[in-house]
Every structure is written in C-alpha cells, then in structure tokens.
C-alpha cells in the first residue's frame, strides 16, 4: 500500500488553525446578503430549498408535457331528430332577398348545418356590402331583447303596453306616424294599410339615407310616375353620367352587370362612357372620358348640353359628348346623381330629346328601390316639433344619425308620447325611443320585395332567430291583435306559385305595366357659371354605404377602391387645392400614410380634426367626405370611426387648417405604375386594327433568334396536359374595382380581420387585393421627346395627374408554374400541384417567410399573431356568434404561418367530387371560385384549360391575355386580359 502524502494549502492549515476549519465549513467568509437582493426577508424563513424549487420545476414541466400529450375527449352530438333536408357536411342553398333599407339584392344563401355562411348572387349581382351582410347576422352587439325606456323587458309587457297606448291614442284621435326606409315589400305596405284602417290617422313616411327625392319628383312632374327609371346600360352605345355612381352605389344592383355587357371589345363594339363629376367615383374611374367640374357647374352644363342637342353651340368640355349623343339618339343614356328636382327634369328633357325612353330607359317597368320623400320627412319633423304626432314607429331607419336635421328630429321626438323603434341595433335613434323592439335580420325573416314593377323577390329565413327578436311585420301584426306574418305573406301571394317562387327566389308577372305619360314639364334653364367657393359634396364609399353595416369588421377593413384606405373616412381634396391650403400627405419610414387635419364647416355645422386625403381626380376647389362613418352607437367595431358627413349636407365649405397629423391605414404606397407595364392597356381604335395592340410579347435574344420568355426557360416544365389544369382569367376591361370579390374571398376562406394598427404596418391579410393605378402626366415617350433626365422623369412619374385615368387590377396568388416561393421554402410547405395550383400546407409551415420575400407579386400573408380567439383582435373571430360565419371546410390559420390564395381549392375539390359521383366531367358553370362567383361583370373567369367546354380555354388563347410580370417567366396559372378604353 502506498503511503499517503499530506498536502496543505498554507502554514495555517498545517498548524491546524481553527480559522481554517471554519473556512472549510463555509465557502463564503462573509454572509451573502440574500435577503437584500431578493427584497424579501421572509424567503429565508421558508423551508423550500433551491433543490426543492428545481424539483418542483422539473415535476411541473413534466406534468404539463404529459398533460399536453393526452388526447382530449371529443364529443360527437348528432341531432335528436335530424331535419330531412340537412346532411351534415353538405351545404344547402336557399334563395332569398337581401334588403336593409339601403342595399337590395336577390341572393342565394349557402348554409351549413343550418348556419348561413356565404352569400352568392341570384337574380341580381352582389356588391361588397351584400356579400358582407352574412357577418352582420352574427353581430353579437345586435339588440337582443325588447327594451322599455332603456331597460330590458320582454315581449308580453312591451306588446301589452304598446297596444294599450295605441288604442288610447286612436280613441283620442291622435296622429300615428310610421317612419321607415323605402318599403319594397308590397305585403308590408298592405300591413301598414291594415294598421291605418284599424288605428286611423296613420301616416307612412319613407326616407332614404341617400335620397333620390329630386329624381322621383322630376319623374312625377315629367311623366306622372313617381319612380326611378330602369336603365339598360347593356343596350346603350353612349353613356353619360353627371355625378351618378351607377356602378358603385346608385340605382339598381344590376347596373354594373349590364354596363359590363355593353363593354365587350372583342366584337368591336363598346359603349362610350363619359363621366362628368367632381369627386372621383368608382363609375368615374371606369369612364372612358372623365370631365371634372365643380358641383355648381352641373346645372349649367346640363342646360348647355340640351341646347347643344337642339343645335346650339356646346361648351368645349362637352362638345364631343354632345356630338356622340346626337349620333346615338335613342341608343344612349344620360343619368345624373343630383337630388335637385329641376336638374333632374332637365336630364329627363335631354333623354326625351334623344328618344331614349322605352329604348334604353324604361319607366313602364320602373324601379321602386328608392321611394323616400324629403318633403314628407321635413313635414313629419315639423309636426313632431309642433306636438301633432302622438305615436312614432320607426323601421329600418336611423334618423338621429342619418338626417341632416337630426337635431330637429331629436327635439321633435321628445314631444312624441309613444315612440317605438324596430331595428337590429339599439343605435343612435333606437336608444332615444321609449320602446326599442329588436327586428330580425333578413336572413332570419320572411318577406317579399318588388324592386321593379312586376318583379317579385322573396325572403325566407335561413336560420332561427339568434336573439329574442321579432320581425317588424310580425310586431305590427301583434299590435293589431293578429300574428303569423308567414301565412299572411302566403295569402298575399295566392296569385303566384308560392313553392316555385320561393325556390327560385323570384317570379315575374308581365300582366301589369305602368303607363307613363309622355314628357311634359317646364324645362328649367341654367347659366354656365362656376362658384368660386370651396364646395363640399357628400359621397358614399363602396365599403360602408350609408353606415347601416358599420359594425361589420369585414367592411371596415375593406380598402376603398380609390383611396386604398380602410377603417376611416376623410376629406378628399385635389393636390392643387391641398397645395393652396398648405395641406400635405406623407409616408413615414415604414410606409404608412399620414396626413394633415382640418376643421370643416358646411351649412353651419362644423366637424373638427377631420383628416385630409389627397385624392387624384377630385376637382380643384371641391372637397368630399363619405357618409356612413362617425357612428356613436353602432357597436364595438363601428363606433367612433371617422366623421358623420350626413350632418353637413352638400354646400359651400370653409376650411381651417389645424396642426397635428392623422394616421391613415392605406394599403397601397404607390399611386402610379412608374412607367412599367403591370397593367397593359390600349384603346379600342388600336385594338380593332391590331388585336395584339398593347400586348406585344417581349422577345429575348437567343442563339436561335429572338424568342418569347417561355421558350427560353431554365425550368423543368410540369405536365399540365393530363388531368385538370385550373386557370383564372381576369379581364381588366371588365373589372370595375367594386371589391365584391374581396369580401367574398374573406367569407369563403376565413380570412382574419387585423384592425387599423396592423393594416398601417402593412400586415393586412387580404388574400385578394385590387391594386389601383393612376396615370401620370409624365411618360417615357414624353421624356424622350422633351429630353427630360431619367431622375426627373421618374420623380414626375410618381405624381398622378390631376384628372387621371384609373385602372384596377385584382391580384391574388398567381399560382406560378415556375414558382419562386416553392424553391425557397426550407420545409416544402408550399409545393406545386399537378392541377396548376400552388399549394400551401399551413401545418407544415415554420414561418421563415422566405416565400413571401421571394414572391414577385407580394401575395403571401403572414400571421403575425393569433387572430382568432384573441382579445387583442376583438373582431368576429373572437366572438362566439361571429365565429359561426366561418367556413367549416377551410382551416382557421394559426400564428406564425404564411397563408395565401388557394384558388379556393376546397371548391375545386368539391366540384370534382360531385362530378366523380355523378360520373360526368366538371361543368363550366360549376367551376367557380369565391371571387369569380361574386364578380358581377364576369371579369374573373375560372375553369379548366384542358376542358374544351370551359370558357377559360378560349380566354387563355385570346390575343389580349398576358401574365403579370411576364419577363420573370413565372408562368402563372392566373392571367389578365388587356385593358381597353373606348377612345381614339
């Protein structure tokens, strides 16, 4: 055994000094002030040691991991008695009618397991608001129970009280008034008539938020018919609109479709569209020629036009238009958006002079979409203030918000002894009423409508009422001592085939026609004059309309087609006017748009801190503000956004520029194409001569001579000859930018709403965006001619012209067959399908965002947050009711993954399956994506290029078809058709 050696650290240890022993026991000579830095003297007194802590930590981590691994027990709860027509997992479609007092549409409703989830067009097209109305059904801020003096009550109490009071008023001879929106329903009018005969002294006043009183009165004076004419935009060779936004918000919902029908350049015939307006409207942006005027010039120009048609000299601005109209007399349309009776009589005179009536304009089967009477409304308010109205029943209206004279209405309301509202929300008006009765949403109601003479459409419930609501008709029947509006409705239509009509959603009776008198009226005459004042005009946005669906997050986040801003309204102003006033818009470092603010006073009403958006196309010396904003009782998502333009009314404005800056949420940074050919366009004249005009393919030099890009590819080609090859064509000539497709895509694909702040950070989630480009004064040709330097040229190219030409380009994932995104994904989460789509497997995505960086079209969207069930994003996906609108066939994406347009692969799979089950090929009409089915103008066409029966095959071969950014050779499955303008 070896002898142990002794080692020591120092002499003290060798000498067995006691201090050494002590040091051996305690590592630290001085006590560590643990309590001091932990700040809690109690810690030392606890018996939990550091090791215990680690043990607990380890145990809890393990326990949490184990718990997470356990599969949850899922319940499957079938119906007790399954309704015969419901097959879980299979959608049912019901034909119904959408009408909310402002928008009308005949629609198909897609329901899944009894829940409406999507609106599709039926007899009429659908706009963005109609598409979004399905989400308004699931608005949890709707009025749920009847209220009595602001306190929740129940129907029995409310009905008993109301009936008693009505009877008392009736015996006392008091006046009862109905203040409603335009009533399209003949049976409801009958009900109101029944009500009148029971209670006596009943008057029915109809009001429109955006009034057509002037037109209606003009038609009454001119033709003895108080109705709106039906226009056949498809038949007209020349269309002249003086400030009527007939594609966007004015008139019949089928205007857009008809307009597009008349603008097919392929057969060489295309209507010529002139727009004379001050604020750039959707219609104006589609016009072939747009003339900017101030609102005060409108009457004079119309007078001048009539005189010109009678042979006098026309004003320079409208000379061409007058000549075109004369040439196409009887084959043209002149419309005007003014609410002035005299101006509308003038327009009637012009159309009569041209012989357009009963050719392109029909008053024998007129439209009843607007019936509001401003005189009646004013009289009612006067009577209310005079104390002559004992009872007021409102339906589908929000006068405290939408009347310019809301103050007068509110003060009059205080003198009404019995005030009852029937509305969806406890809104600005309902909350002031004695009784607010919850109405049912149109998807929960029975009903009918006669939008045009002799045409009836039906409304049927597609879901049981979500809340304790009751539709207006049922309520007034109750107050008359009856009930069951459904039977009443059926009896009313005893002359029609009820089941068939309900199935189709409409029926047409031809036996009755209105016989308008021939035109007779004193034609007013106006001088060509122009006010020097700053003129204000109310406008209407595509997204918000009159604001009745203000609490709809889809609509709030829908970027305006022209300004590309959402979640706001703002004063629009031309760059020149803004320059004069010292107002600017600027982009901050992250690209977000900021702007100056002003105080604006119109007709004695002032709105403070209104932001200004510089809008190309706005006439100099004019400003405009969209209605539908500035709601205070719309619900959590619509409250306190923007300013109420209804309170101003049209008129001269004074503006005071104040300090401060406003933050917009605009989704497009650049206004122009900067000389690139993202949108290819040409004129009709050139196109007729050369069908490839505007769409010459770029040739690349090769050893074998010049070749197009697709011939010099480095990529291996996919085999697309076998099986389906799904393609999409987007016709830029037909696209009006109406954005119905954007909302349709939202609804179909569970696209989340992210809110204003996130949109400002360019984190909007729209799978489909509609890029809008304005033309600039500067062109490459001009710079070459005038020897302008490239730097100056590009700088000037950034500035849109004062009266620009506008193009809209819907861009979604282009489904490239040489996809740049696919090659950079490190985990193969995005890959190519054999049928031409670019697939995206969310569950595989790890969120590197390489694909988004490598995508030349910038169509990939990243989920920066968990947008569902997150209080920070308190929109429909964070709401038990709002979630009911989700499409059960599409995954709700989680945080940290990329998402993008899938070409509605769920629908493709479904139509393929239907075809396989039926043992046939896929029919062209079945091949639809959400965007193509919502497109009223048929600009978006979807189908299988390999199928001879599909329209898309011809479109792909068309001389107008081109791929976006063709020079990148991405070979997309989406292609565009050249934009063609009807001008020389």
């Amino acid at each position: 055994m070896t002898k142990a050696k002794k080692y020591w650290k120092g002499l003290a240890e060798l000498n067995n000094d006691p201090i050494v022993d002590k040091l051996k026991q305690n590592e630290f000579v001085e006590e560590i002030p643990v309590d001091k830095f932990l700040g809690d003297s109690d810690i030392s007194s606890t018996s939990t040691s550091r090791r215990d802590f680690l043990k607990f930590l380890g145990f809890s981590t393990a326990a949490a991991t184990l718990a997470a691994c356990e599969t949850p027990v899922n319940k499957a709860i079938p119906y007790v008695i399954k309704p015969e027509e419901v097959i879980p997992g299979v959608a049912n479609f019901y034909a119904t009618t959408m009408y909310d007092g402002h928008d009308y549409a005949s629609v198909l409703v897609k329901t899944r397991e009894g829940r409406p989830i999507k609106i599709e067009p039926n007899k009429t097209g659908t706009n963005a608001r109609v598409q979004a109305s399905v989400l308004s059904l699931y608005d949890s801020t709707r009025l749920k129970n009847p209220m009595k003096s602001g306190i929740e009550s129940d129907w029995n109490t409310v009905d008993a009280d109301i009936t008693a009071e009505l009877e008392k008023i009736s015996t006392d001879g008091g006046n009862i008034a109905f203040l409603t929106s335009t009533i399209l329903s003949p049976s409801t009018k009958q009900l109101i008539a029944d009500f009148s005969s029971k209670y006596k002294n009943v008057r029915h006043v109809q009001m429109d938020t955006v009034s057509s009183h002037g037109t209606l009165e003009a038609n009454k004076t001119s033709f003895g018919v108080r109705a709106l004419p039906m226009y056949r935009f498809d038949k007209a060779a020349v269309i002249v609109s003086f400030g009527a936004d007939f594609i966007g918000n004015w008139g019949h919902p089928n205007n857009e479709k008809d307009y597009a029908l008349g603008r097919n350049p392929n057969d060489g015939k295309m209507s010529k569209h002139y727009q004379v307006e001050s604020t750039l409207s959707l219609t104006g942006s589609n016009a072939d020629e747009r003339i900017q005027i101030k609102p005060s010039e409108q009457a004079g120009l119309l007078s001048n036009l009539l005189n010109a048609l009678n042979g006098a000299a026309a004003d320079n601005r409208i000379a061409k238009m007058a000549a075109d109209l004369s040439k196409n007399a009887g084959n043209s349309i002149v419309v005007c958006g003014s609410n002035d009776t005299k101006i509308q009589i003038l327009v009637n005179a012009i159309n009569d002079k041209l012989g357009n009536y009963e050719n392109t304009i029909s008053l024998s089967a007129p439209s009843y979409l607007n019936q509001g009477n401003d005189t009646d409304v004013a009289q009612l308010i006067a009577d209310m203030n005079a104390g002559n109205i004992a009872a007021l029943i409102t339906y589908n209206v929000n006068p405290s918000y939408s009347l310019q004279n809301a103050a007068g209405y509110n003060s009059g309301l205080e003198k009404v002894s019995l005030s009852i509202s029937t509305s969806l929300y406890n809104d600005e008006s309902a909350s002031k009423m004695m009784y607010s009765c919850p109405d049912n949403h149109y998807l929960e109601s029975w009903g009918d409508a006669m939008p045009t003479h002799g045409e009836y459409t039906f409304m049927q419930p597609t879901i049981s009422p979500l809340f304790n609501g009751r539709q207006f008709q049922e309520s007034i029947m109750k107050w008359m001592g009856g009930s069951d509006y459904h039977t009443y409705l059926q009896n009313y239509y005893s002359f029609a085939d009820w089941n068939q009509s309900l199935h189709d959603g409409y029926f047409t009776s031809n036996d009755r026609k209105v016989n308008p008198a021939s035109f007779s009226a004193i034609i007013p005459s106006f001088d060509l004059s122009k006010s020097e004042a700053l003129e204000f005009e109310m406008t209407e946005k595509i997204s918000m309309g009159d604001g009745s669906q203000s609490n709809n997050p889809w609509l709030q986040e829908l970027p305006d087609p022209l300004s590309r801003a959402c979640w706001d309204n703002y004063l629009t102003m031309s760059a020149s006017t803004a320059g004069d006033l010292g107002i600017t818009n600027w982009n901050i470092s992250n690209g977000a748009l900021n702007g100056s603010m002003v105080n604006i006073t119109v007709n004695g009403t002032t709105l403070n801190n209104v932001p200004v958006m510089i809008q190309p196309g706005q006439a100099n010396g004019t400003v405009a503000l969209a209605v539908g904003y500035g709601r205070t009782a719309a619900g959590k998502c619509g409250n306190d956004i923007g300013f109420n333009a209804f309170s101003l009314g049209n008129g001269d404005a004074t503006i005071e520029v104040i300090g401060g800056e406003y933050e917009f949420a605009a989704v497009q940074l650049h206004h122009t194409m900067m000389g690139r050919d993202i949108v290819k366009e040409t004129t009709l004249a050139d196109f007729i001569v050369d069908p490839t005009s505007g769409n010459h393919k770029t040739l690349y030099a090769t050893h074998d001579g010049p070749k197009t890009g697709d011939k010099v590819s480095l990529w291996d080609e996919f085999d697309h000859a076998t099986g389906h090859f799904w393609n999409m064509s987007i016709d830029l000539t037909l696209c009006t930018g109406c954005a119905a497709c954007v909302i349709s895509c939202h609804a179909e694909n569970n696209v989340p709403v992210v809110g204003k702040e996130e949109v400002r950070k360019s984190r909007d989630m729209h799978w489909l965006r509609i890029d809008r480009y304005f033309s600039s004064e500067m062109t490459k040709e001009l710079s070459a001619e005038e020897k302008i330097s490239a730097i100056t040229m590009y700088a000037e190219m950034e500035e849109p012209s004062g009266n620009p030409e506008t193009v809209f380009q819907p861009v979604m994932c282009q489904h490239c067959n040489h996809a740049p995104c696919e090659t950079v994904c490190p985990v193969a989460a995005t890959s190519h399908g054999s049928e031409g789509q670019n697939h995206m497997a969310y569950n595989r995505c790890v969120g590197t965002r390489y694909c988004a960086n490598n995508c030349p079209y910038k169509v990939r969207r990243f989920n920066w947050f968990q947008y569902s069930e997150n209080d920070k994003f308190d929109f429909n996906m964070n709401d038990d009711y709002g979630k009911m609108v989700l499409n059960p066939d599409v995954v709700v994406r989680s945080r940290g993954v990329i998402e993008k347009c899938s070409m509605c692969i769920q629908q493709i799979q479904s139509i393929k399956l239907d075809a396989k089950k039926a043992g046939r090929t896929v029919r062209d009409e079945d091949a639809q994506t959400a965007c193509s089915s919502a497109c009223s103008t048929n600009a978006i066409v979807f189908g299988d290029v390999n199928d001879d029966t599909h329209q898309i095959q011809g479109l792909k071969k068309d001389t107008r078809s081109y791929a976006l950014l063709e020079h990148l050779n991405t070979d997309p499955s989406v292609f565009y058709q050249t934009k063609i303008r009807n001008k020389a």
Binding site: C69, T71, V73, N74, K75, A76, I77, P78, Y79, V80, I81, K82, I87, P88, G89, V90, A721, T722, G723, A829, S831, G833, S834, E835, Q837, H839, M840, A841, Y842, N843, R844, D889, V890, V891, V892, S902, I905, Q906, Q909, K912, L913, A915, K916, K917, A918, G919, R920, T921, V922
Partner: protein, 414 residues
C-alpha cells in the same frame, strides 16, 4: 443422426394428420350444429322480431316464450301461414287472439315444413341470454406486451440458473484440481470487471443502452396524438356486433351521409326509433340501454307513443376517430367514388361490441393506402379522357391514387 431427424419429422407429420382429422371432425360437428341453429334464428330474426320478442313482453304481437308448449304445432303452422283464414274458419283461439291484439292481422308467411321445423327448434331452445358485455377498457396490445415481457423474464431466469450451474461446475472442477474456489458472486463480479476493463466493450454497452433509450423516447414522441385502439365508453352501450354483425344491417342505413358527405355522421336518434319504436327490449341489456334513446327523444315504450311537449335531449357520443382540423377527409370520396369498404379503415366493426379505433389514422397510413390503391376509372365518365392519357403514360402499370395527385399537400390540407 440423419435418420433420427427424419424420424422426428415423420412423427410430426403423422401427428399433424391426426390433428387435422380431429379438427375436421370437430369443425364439422360445430358447423352442422351452427347451420341448424342459424336457420331457425335467422327465420325468427328476419320475419318475427318486428312484432314479437322471445320473452314474455308483448310487442305488436304476444311474446313467444314457450309458445310451442302452449299451442299445438299444427295449429301454429296454420296460424302463421294464414291467420285470417284460421279466424274465418271460426277457430275460437284464433278469434280470441285477434280480439286481444286490437284486430291487427298477422302477416301471412307460408313457410315450408323444414323452415317450420327449424323455427320451432329455435323457439323451443332459445339461446341462453348472454350476460351484458362488460365495457372493456383494457387494451389488447398491452396484453400481448405483458406476455412478451414475461417471456423475457423467463429467459433471464433461465440464464441466471445457467450461470449458477456453470459456476458450480467450474468450482467443482477447480476443487477437483485443488485450486481456489470462488463464490458465484465473485465469479460474476470478476468477469464483469474484466469485461468492462475493455474500452471497446464499454463503448458497445453504452451505445446499446443509448440506442434503447433513444428508441424508447422516439417511440413515445411519435406516439403523441396517436390513439390506435382508443375504445372509450359510450353513453349508450350500443353494440355494432348485434346490429351490423348479427342482424346484418347495412352500415349506410344508419350512417346515411357516408355516401353523400364528408362526414359519416352518427345517426340521429330518430333513425334508432325506426326500429326501436317496436323493438323495446334488447337481447343483451334488456331495456336499460334502449331507455336512454327513449329519454332522448321522449318516447313511452309501454304506451308506444311519443310524449307530447317533451324536451328532447341530445345523446353525447364520444368521438372515436379524431382527425386533426388541418386534415380534410371526405367519406363520400372514399366510400362512393373509391368504393372502399368501411372495414378497410375502421376494422371489423361488425364484430365489435364496443367500437375501437383500428388504425392509427396517421398521414403515413393515409399515404400508404394512396400509393397502393388503384383508381377505379372504368365506367366513370369523369375519368374517361384522363384514363386514355394515363394508360399511355403508365403503360401496364397500375394507376394508383398517388398518380392522379393523391399525395399532393393541398388535396387534404387547406
């Protein structure tokens, strides 16, 4: 040596033949018995159960327990073949029964004599009621695992004994040579030390254990979320064996949407009531389980009518086959277009009293099937032109689902 082995083989063969003969005889006897039984039972089930039970309970007609003793067989034959004729002939018993059962005439059956024999045979000796099947939560695979580990333990034991014996032998040998003997533990210890003094050995053993642990961890991780053999207890002890197996009810009768929809939905209670409005007593659990359906829909089995104004309560079944939300699966695609039998994915449901998840439902499992399954293109116009092209492309090869895009991500994940 050679001959010996051959002998053994021969013996085995002879034994086998004997065994086969024995087996054959037994099987034949069983099947003969089974045939006779099935006949009577089948006749009863197919024709009688809608109105009668093999007990004392009255359904539409009387309970048939002991009927062969109560009535004369010839009388029974006449009654079953044409009861109205018997009543018309003025038979007192027949008239009495007719009156008792609200003058509801019994259907005429016209059975043959053999069929009657079989039926009466069945009625005379009804099958003994089985005790209600206990809900089995123990997993079969686990049982197999247990027996495997027992085997391992046995082998270990044998090895230990072997070590002991060999050491003893070694010791006795050493003793006989006059060397120092070692105890068993000393031998083991010294060998152990010797073995581990070699680094290579250490490495191998370490590696072995590392691999075992890794394999264990890997299996555990890969098993997360996989619920093969999941067999939860259901709110109603519904037996697929009785319904789909014994009674041969088509799967689609209850799971009606499997051919039409992505879901093969659990039938609503009204589907159960199609039969159970009259069959108020089950063969296993009697009335207890059926009562749960009646509680859901509001039905009075004694009065045989629905209760007015009853607040219906849905039945909360436990979902067995759970696919994650990120995967889209469509039953009609597989059942209707692909013509796949339910059992291919769900196992022999018709033999399960309590349904369990047969397959692991993983993506690998899906894909495997897509790689192997041939697409039935003939006779479906959807595939005609595709088929023409693909026949050329894959001349002679099977056109499987993966060849028409069945492995693409976007086909199931959207």
């Amino acid at each position: 040596m050679h001959t010996k082995i051959e002998d053994i083989f021969n013996m085995i063969r002879i034994n086998n033949i004997k065994n086969y003969i024995l087996l054959f005889v037994v099987l034949f006897a069983f099947s003969y018995q089974a045939l006779a039984e099935v006949d009577g039972a089948q006749i009863f089930k197919q024709n009688c159960t809608a109105c009668h039970v093999l007990g004392e309970t009255k359904l539409i007609g009387p309970g048939l327990k002991g009927i062969t003793e109560k009535r004369d067989k010839e009388w029974l034959k006449k009654w079953i073949n044409n009861s109205s004729e018997l009543i018309a002939s003025g038979d007192a018993d027949a008239i009495a029964i007719f009156e008792e059962y609200n003058k509801v005439a019994m259907t005429n059956f016209y059975f043959s004599d053999e069929e009657f024999e079989a039926l009466f045979g069945y009625l005379e000796n009804p099958p003994v009621e089985e005790a209600p099947v206990a809900i089995q939560n123990t997993v079969v695979a686990e049982e197999e695992g247990l027996s495997a580990s027992t085997q391992m333990m046995l082998i270990a034991l044998v090895l230990l004994i072997l070590i002991y014996i060999l050491t003893s032998v070694k010791n006795s040998l050493k003793e006989s040579l006059g060397q120092d003997t070692e105890s068993v533990s000393e031998t083991v210890q010294s060998n152990f030390t010797l073995f581990f003094s070699n680094t290579i050995n250490k490495l191998f053993v370490g590696l072995f254990f590392a691999i075992v642990i890794l394999k264990f961890v890997y299996d555990a991780m890969m098993g997360v979320g996989i619920t093969t053999n999941y067999q939860p207890e259901q709110p109603i002890a519904f037996s697929h064996k009785i319904h789909a197996g014994d009674n041969g009810i088509d799967c689609n009768y209850c799971h009606v949407s499997a051919r039409k929809s992505k879901h093969s939905s659990i039938p609503s209670a009204n589907v159960c009531m199609n039969c159970h409005a009259s069959i108020v007593e089950g063969s296993i659990a009697g009335t207890t389980e059926l009562q749960k359906i009646y509680d859901a829909v509001g039905y009075d089995p004694d009065k045989r009518q629905y209760i007015e104004g009853y607040e219906q309560k849905p039945i909360e079944w436990v979902r067995i086959h759970n696919l994650p939300d990120l995967a889209y699966f469509n039953h009609s695609q597989h059942v209707n277009v692909g013509k796949i039998e339910c059992q291919e994915c769900h196992g022999a449901i018709e033999e399960m009293d309590v349904v369990k998840q047969e397959n692991d439902l993983t993506m690998g499992w899906c894909i495997n099937c897509h790689r192997e399954t041939e697409v039935e293109m003939e006779g479906n116009d959807y595939y005609t032109s595709l088929h023409e092209k693909m026949k050329e492309q894959y001349s002679g090869e099977k056109i499987t689902v993966d060849k028409i895009g069945g492995l693409e991500c976007g086909k199931c994940h959207y």
